[in-house]
Amino acid sequence: MADTVKTIKSSGGDYSSLAGWEAGQQKTISAGDRELAEYYSFDDTTFCTIDGWTTVETGYILVYTPASERHDGKWNVAKARNTGGIIISEEYVRLDGLQFDTGAGRSIIISVSAGTGEIRISNLFSTNTFRSIDIYSVGALTIKVWNAVLYVSGGGQYGAILLNDADATLYCYNVTAYHAGGYLAFYQTAGSMNLVNCLGVSGIAQAFYGTMASVTYCASNDATADDWSGAGNRINQTFTFVDSANGDFHLASTDAGARDYGVSDPGSGLFSDDIDGVARSGSWDIGADEYVAAGGGLSISAARSYTQAVNRAAVY
């Protein structure tokens, strides 16, 4: 039972890119062991494919940012950031606290894995003009995404997140998908897509689209969030963000579309905070952000210690 932790830094680290780390550490991970890549503040321009490993349920890959290096729920050029993108072709991989700006390309592709497994993506900020997450050609994977902002700032393809694999089961909890390019936000063409506390905005009135397995306590700017008859859904909402034009999807104090309209603990203990590390309480807000009054919020994330971050990573 051991963790192998390698740092990724622009200089002075074990590796200078995630692609280098992946090439150097590629191995069979035994049950109980974990392979951790700790991302520091710089722009990793390389794209990385995670493949050729052996991973198991308790022996998995975790790519994460310590609290001091982590984005604050919106694009932050002073923090760890990836502009190349990642392909996940392994069965047990977790990403926590990453931010992507991949231009006209995707941020994350989950593809070409054959077995059962579980992929976890948490506390993610993704912006580009294509799509944030693609899920294709995988085995019977369970994919869990929570506290994520999936922002397509223009152009793009159908779906800020797309599930297109009959074997896969996707759970999204407290995900904000905002498609400014006029396409779909949450998009399912095959597989089981389950959404709780998710906020969708689309410029063409199709924030949620597909044959969803379940949609509960979600909200849309159009009439789609309640198309699958789940409880607590809210349609035709006006969301008030801090600065959506510049990719800041924290809820404003004046928001009346998402605040306190979610269900508590949708992941059954999987997480209890928001994309900034703010503790959620009461009736959770819908989307990646939990609004807190002035004096709270972002400062909590910044105050996390390195040790806390490692412990946090151990949880995820």
Partner: protein
């Protein structure tokens, strides 16, 4: 100048499909970076000391020129078509590889001992092999 991080040893997987698809092999380029890149300690450890990489430094060319010659033939997220993904396209590691074993002994010794070697693109390009067409240069 451009600097190329190259895998010096094979990674292997028991699954032959995964082994071919996903494992870096000796000679496979990993990343291309500009001159003076702050390589990590695991990337600069010489093979003789247990390192897994070597770094080829090429003065007189820009990373973009190397990128155009090599990286453009790597699969990249932006190069993958929607239809290819839907068809279950296998994203290969690298189409190009460096024939390290064919390098002159003095060069191989330097790489093994120090982990780096400085050369020219004209000198090194004949050791670059396209895995698909099996052509060099």
């Amino acid at each position: 100048m451009a600097e190329i991080l190259i895998k010096a040893i094979d990674a292997t997987h028991l699954n032959p499909v995964k082994n071919q698809r996903g494992c870096y092999k000796r000679g496979d380029p990993v990343v291309i970076m500009p001159d003076g890149w702050g390589w990590g300690t695991e990337e600069t450890k010489p093979p003789i000391d247990g390192g897994k990489f070597v770094i080829i430094k090429i003065p007189g060319v820009t990373p973009q020129q190397v990128h155009d010659a090599i990286h453009a033939r790597w699969p990249g997220l932006q190069h993958i078509l929607e239809s290819e993904l839907q068809a279950g396209m296998v994203v290969r590691r690298r189409q190009l590889t460096f024939n390290i074993d064919l390098l002159p002994s003095a060069v191989k010794n330097t790489l093994n001992r120090t982990g780096t070697y400085t050369t020219t693109w004209a000198a090194i390009k004949s050791f670059v092999r396209d895995k698909v067409s099996n052509t060099t240069g």
